[in-house]
């Protein structure tokens, strides 16, 4: 059962990697990152469930990862807003130059 769930986790992680690397839109890139963190949460919980004897520190790690997920989303949205104010840019291709 652990192996099966880890394969699902690997599939979600792979889709996230594809999205984060292939998308031009900033928010779509963030969606790829979110999928990767989603897969990480699933893998941590299945390890907690199947290999730690129910040690609550396994669940605690998920709480930390959820905080990281919230931080990633908040800073991502803030940066999207800042870039749009400065450049009117909504895709990565408009940010090829750092100058100006």
């Amino acid at each position: 059962m652990i192996e099966l769930i880890l394969v699902f986790s690997a599939a979600i992680f792979g889709i996230g990697v594809y999205g984060a690397l292939s998308q031009q839109s900033f928010v779509m890139i963030m969606m790829g990152l979110e999928l990767m963190i989603n897969a990480t949460v699933l893998a941590i919980v299945v390890f907690w469930w199947g290999t730690t004897g129910g040690d609550p520190r396994g669940q605690l790690l998920v709480v930390v990862v959820l905080a990281v997920m919230a931080i990633e989303a908040a800073m991502g949205f803030a940066l999207v807003t800042a870039v749009y104010r400065a450049r009117k840019a909504d895709i990565t291709e408009k940010l090829k130059r750092l100058r100006n």
């Binding site: 986790s9 990697v17 999928l35 998920v62 919230a70």
Partner: protein
Amino acid sequence: MSVLGVTAIVVFGVASVVTGWLVFRTDSMVRAAYWLMASFVGVGAMLVTLDSQFLGLILILMMAGEMTIMAIFMVMYMMNPAGLNPMVMVHQHRTAIAAGVGSFLLLATVALVADFPADPAPAGADPTAELGFELLGRSMLVFESAGVALLAVMIGAVAVAGKWGRFGDADAGSVEPPLDPEEAAS
């Protein structure tokens, strides 16, 4: 795990993967946000099936809020948020596919080949209560640190996204710079 539990894991797992894939296959960015939410709901349901009810429900509630905000951001900033026209906005597509498939194969191989210790959580335990005692007991510093980090991010996000810039009003610079360096210098 019971047959019903295994069936639920398979159904929710397949649903999470399929909806995760649909995030990048739809023309509408708003729909993409809600497909992502569906993927999170599937993973949250898997967490509930794995006796981690609190974390599963927290994940679903948190993502419902975040994806709603994300959909609003799509409408605010991104082109074609409703998906009325066909749209492909990708770059380095083959590299991205290779990286995604490669990372899946690598992780899946490790998952299938590695010998994990079998020490399941005891039946009849209350994982939610144990997590609560852990968070407010010996691991309180971790819990508090996460709270302080979130507070710092809230302040930082407002500072970064605010209308005021370091050199004046941030909106004053919202004109796309010219491509000619000499024109930009003048």
